[in-house]
């Protein structure tokens, strides 16, 4: 079935969309099956043909309009072009960020399980494009089983001569190293990931210098998300133009939506960007379980602002549309909450998460996340006061943008917007602030 195009020639209809990141092919995680289905053709093409220079690969990725799938949505081709000119004396690195720890996000795990070779091919192509000789694949320690799975596949890759020295008989060589994390949310932040790789405590670094200038061990480095790199072979096989014609115009391409929470069919779905949120919940994920009503959604991982049920009408899952609606695309890991959800308790657990995961380097974050948890916990117990709600907002203002990395912002946004958008529920838990004179609070 040919994917339907809309009037402007774009592939936006999700019903007729054919999957490319996780296509329905049995045992695609095995190297032989992946190759039978056109795997490593893109790599062969760029290595064999003189026409495909590294700059041309980067240009193709630029033309595709691919934006990073790790949360920030930065254009991938542009990121690659930040790498300084090649100096044979200076080694260059690629880091693939598979630390996937944002609550509500579970797409990369499915890629590692079902299509790891698209990731390996993407890594090799990215190494070719930026002339990197080593790729570190950083995977969170909790994914121990999946690390074992892909280590088996990586060994096959080396055996076949698709990784290591002189790949496919060319003079292009890449070493792929799988690095196992050990449970720290902060390692998903790129500079902290680099410190973790270097055997340091995973404290984020001050930017600038940016990784392209001074990355791992001080050498030029590019860091991309697993899903971002897994999309590269498709871009080279089908062309940047094709990729750019899928989904939303300013945020194109197929994307893995992770729908979880109170829906009938939770899971990872591959569809073009820009799908209607209502379609995603009611048609794709089978609607709210037990016929309940929708209360709220968190569109892209715990740090993206929550949206009430009345705010999602006509909103699409792409960066621009969600920004207009007052939230963000994030990692496209959507949490759906039904009408019975206790929002105060939900927020308390999020604040606990950020308090637990703050690395402790910057004071506003180390102290602020603790205060957020304390105050929201007090509200949950019914012991809070109305003034606590303004105190929370004030605290958020003092955390946002005042730290080395974005964890403080990520901790503050859910609090700020949840309190703003569900203020009545928080007020219902508050005690009156009237305190008789002479009694200390």
């Amino acid at each position: 079935m040919e994917a339907k195009k809309d009037n402007s020639g774009r592939i936006t209809d999700w019903r007729s969309y054919e999957r490319v990141l996780l296509p329905s092919i049995k045992d695609l995680h095995r190297l032989d099956v992946y190759e039978e289905n056109g795997g490593y053709q893109a790599l062969r093409k760029v290595l064999v043909s003189d026409d495909w220079t590294p700059a041309k690969v980067t240009d193709e990725v630029k033309a595709s309009g691919l934006r990073g799938r790790g949360g920030a949505g930065f254009p991938t081709g542009l990121k690659w072009s930040f790498m300084p000119p090649v100096d044979p004396e200076v080694p260059r690195f690629i880091c693939c960020n598979g630390d996937e720890s944002e609550p509500g996000t579970f797409k990369d795990r499915q890629l590692l399980e079902y299509n790891p070779h698209s990731l390996f091919e993407g890594i090799l192509l990215a190494c070719y494009a930026i002339s990197a000789g080593t790729a570190f694949l950083y995977i969170r320690g909790e994914f121990a089983d999946w690390i074992t799975h892909i280590e088996v596949e990586l060994a096959k890759l080396y055996e076949k001569g698709y990784a290591g020295k002189n790949i496919m008989g060319s003079d292009f060589s890449v070493e792929i190293v799988i690095h196992k994390g050990a449970g720290a949310y902060i390692c998903g932040e790129e500079s902290s990931l680099m410190n973790s790789l270097e055997g340091e405590r995973a404290y984020p670094r001050v930017k600038p210098p940016f990784p392209a200038q001074k990355g791992v061990w001080g050498y030029p480095t590019t860091i991309n998300n697993v899903e971002t790199l897994a999309a590269i072979p498709t871009i080279l096989n089908k062309g940047g133009d094709w990729f750019a014609s899928v989904g939303a115009e300013r945020h194109p391409g197929p994307v893995l939506y992770g729908v979880s929470g109170h829906v009938n069919r939770p899971g990872v779905y591959e569809y073009p960007t820009g799908i209607l949120i209502t379609d995603l919940i009611y048609k794709v994920a089978g609607g709210i379980r037990n016929g309940k009503k929708l209360k709220a959604i968190v569109p892209g991982g715990s740090s993206t602002p929550i949206l009430r049920a009345d705010m999602i009408e006509g909103v699409r899952m792409d960066a621009e549309s969600l920004k207009e609606a007052g939230s963000m695309m994030g990692t496209a890991g959507m949490l759906v909450m039904d009408e019975d959800t206790d929002i105060v308790g939900f927020l308390r657990r999020i604040t606990h998460f950020y308090h637990h995961e703050s690395c402790g380097q910057c004071t506003p974050c180390r102290e602020g996340t603790g205060w957020l948890e304390d105050i929201v916990s007090r509200l949950e117990r019914g012991e809070g006061h109305y003034r606590d709600l303004d105190l929370l907002t004030d605290l958020c203002t003092q955390m946002e943008g005042r730290t080395v990395c974005a964890l403080a912002d990520a901790a503050a946004w859910p609090v700020r917007y949840t309190v703003e958008r569900f203020r009545d529920e928080f007020e219902a838990r508050c005690r009156p602030s009237l305190v008789p004179a002479g009694i200390s609070i």
Binding site: S101, G141, K180, G199, S260, G267, N290
Partner: protein, 224 residues
Amino acid sequence: MIELPTTSGDGHTSETFVPVFSNEELVFTTDETAQIERWKSHYPTVDGAIMRVLWLAQEKFGYLAPEVIRLSAEATGIPYAKAYGVATFYTQYFKKKKGKHVLDVCTCFTCQLCGGYDILHYLEEKLGIKSGETTSDGEFTIQQAECLGACDAAPMLQVTNGRYVMQLTPEKIDAMLDALRDGKSLEFESMTLPQDADEMGGNRRSDTQAVLETKAPPIAETIL
């Protein structure tokens, strides 16, 4: 009045450090040393290998006592203080002795809404301990974990930094505890992608026996 710690003559606290592992125990075998050397060769400096070495040491000794961290630091060739900083930064490295099986129950975000706390409380009741404690026979430790990245299978838990046990119900927990007590290993569970179920009738992997179909998660507070 603030109570000060008792100090000895040299100004240090009187708490003496007693190693748990003897010097005879604290060695890596030839195979392990060869593996460590391979890891060290993967990075521009040997420091990068410390996380792998700590993992190896934890699997071998059960947890990272200070002397185990020292052994790992020496094997990697980095200062003890640096290795200690790494070991204490990450939650998956155990700094204290835990039970034989550590049950990391996810209670974060999706799991919270789908009954993660109910699962935690069920385990607490069943084993007679609180979260963070170890059973008296040393078999099980229960912990609360942050998001483990399996929200489609909520509620879920992880057994000793390894296998994921997904779509938990009280019956499934009972079976899991029995299997672990009997020394059986748990099977790797593969989640069917909903689109795979539509387009190819189920799981796409032929090398995985335990396959979980997509289904609506349970309702929190009423799961028991």
